[in-house]
């Protein structure tokens, strides 16, 4: 376990705070024998804004997948919201996921539905009333600056706009945690900056944000906590960090 993780854990134990995300010696070996994560340990507190950086294949995506439980660790522990994900029963998973908003590089929008429906989708599954949906969806679309595009279809939008829709979908449930995997990988730098501004805004409202990214400039300008991965291991964990210590 890295020093930072131990330090955080002892601090939270002292305060009796429930950890938001805790990885203990987590490893992931995929079916094709690839070792994607090699004994990673880290601790993320409530309301933190954390960048996960590292070269391609360092294990960033795997780390994100472990957090929202698309994958389970081969060994070690992943604890989110005080729940050990390996011990979670399948029927609990949907309710666990409703507390997390997930954002992908390729947006993962439903092409045959309007912007409004794509965002409303996340509320439909939670038994929300029509009134709630009519209130919540325009509100989050307002937040991401797409109030006037409600009736558009994803293909009619630019990449940046599509990513905002997927951000809106991720936060419409008021999740405690938002995880993003390369959210700006397909976007130009200006648009990327806008997306990160939105993520920072979401974080300001109290949501924990974890972003795996390659956007060096932005990471350096943001001055937030940076966890660097290399070959599936945590090699650096700094408060107010930069993209790479060498550069």
């Amino acid at each position: 376990m890295s020093n930072k993780a131990i330090e955080c854990q002892t601090r939270s134990n002292r305060l009796g705070v429930v950890p938001m995300i805790l990885l203990e010696n987590a490893s992931k070996i995929y079916a094709n024998k690839v070792l994607a994560l090699d004994g990673a340990s880290l601790y993320i507190d409530r309301s933190e804004f954390v960048f996960i950086v590292g070269p391609s294949g360092a294990g960033k995506s795997t780390l994100v997948r472990l957090i929202y439980r698309e994958e389970l660790p081969t060994s070690g522990r992943v604890v989110v919201f005080d729940k050990d994900l390996s011990k979670m029963r399948p029927r609990e998973v949907p309710f666990f996921r409703r507390r997390i908003g997930v954002v992908f590089q390729d947006f993962k929008l439903l092409e045959d539905r309007t912007v409004f429906e794509n965002v409303a989708f996340a509320l439909r599954v939670t038994d929300s009333t029509r009134r709630e949906i009519r209130r919540r969806v325009p509100a989050v679309l307002e937040l991401v600056g797409l109030r006037d595009k409600q009736k558009s279809y994803p293909r009619q939008l630019s990449g940046g706009e599509q990513q905002r829709v997927s951000l809106a979908r991720a936060i419409v449930n008021n999740p405690e945690l938002v995880v993003a995997d390369e959210p700006t990988g397909n976007l130009d730098p200006d648009t990327a900056w806008e997306i990160f501004q939105l993520l920072r805004e979401i974080n300001r409202r109290g949501t924990t944000v974890v972003v795996a990214t390659h956007a060096r400039e932005i990471v350096n300008r943001f001055g937030k906590r940076v966890i660097a991965l290399k070959d599936g291991q945590v090699v650096r964990d700094e408060e107010k960090g930069v993209y790479s210590s060498e550069g």
């Binding site: 949907p94 993962k108 439903l110 599954v125 939670t126 029509r130 979908r169 449930n173």
Partner: protein
Amino acid sequence: MRVRTWTYLVGQSLQGIRRHLHMSLASVTTMAVSLFVLGVFVVASLNLSYVAEVIESQIEIRAYLYDDIPAQGILDLEVAISALEYVTDVEYVDKDTALSRLKEQLGPQADLLEAVEEMNPLRNSFVVKVEAPEFVGLVASQVEEFQGVAKVDHRQDLMSRLSAVIRAIRVSALFIILLLGVATILIISNTVRLAVLSRQREVYIMKLVGATDSFIRWPFFLEGMLLGLAGAAVASFVLDRAYDWFLANVYVMLPFVPVLAKQPMLQVVSLGLITLGTAIGALGSSIPLKRFLRV
């Protein structure tokens, strides 16, 4: 789940059909065609069975009597024959009735009989019916023993061969229907499975935003059910029309072949097709989902 969620899910299944109209049409067409073929075979074999039944019911033994038997003797004989095992019906046909029946059968050529009408050469007889063709020989030999019986006529050889043929046809029809039924199920469930596969992405996103498995599965289930119902309805409709056409065009050319009336047979067959189509549609679209739900 709440009522509004159910409303949403039903709406989703309808929209699913609309959004994937191409796939939906392909599924309905496949189901309609395969269920129609199945239906044709069922109807054909039901008719074959019916033909067999009619032929078997016509199997009879004819016992010709001497002319000099008194009325009481005829009555006694009738009682004795009726008492035999396997006999289901005994009818007395006197020589005059026999002659007029023969006339009827000959129709326009009845005048051939004019020459013999004065001294009717036909005999009084009994027409004996038995339970099944295999008893014909046994009963005939017993009837032959009775006094007053001049001669017994039966076509045991022909009858037993015919009933063997009929039995073989029945068995093979049943076999073909079973085979077709399995093929139909495979074809339909494969089509529906492809439709579901094309929506893997949708299912993945649903899982990501925290949809429960049943929430994801219900629209697929309802959708498959609706598509199955539609396919079966088309098949039943076409089958109904086809049978009308058959009765109007083929049956009139083969008036001596017994054919089943359209109803209630087609009602039963249609009901079967609709049940089968709906069930396969529903199960075929929700079972393959299981694999994608493991996200």
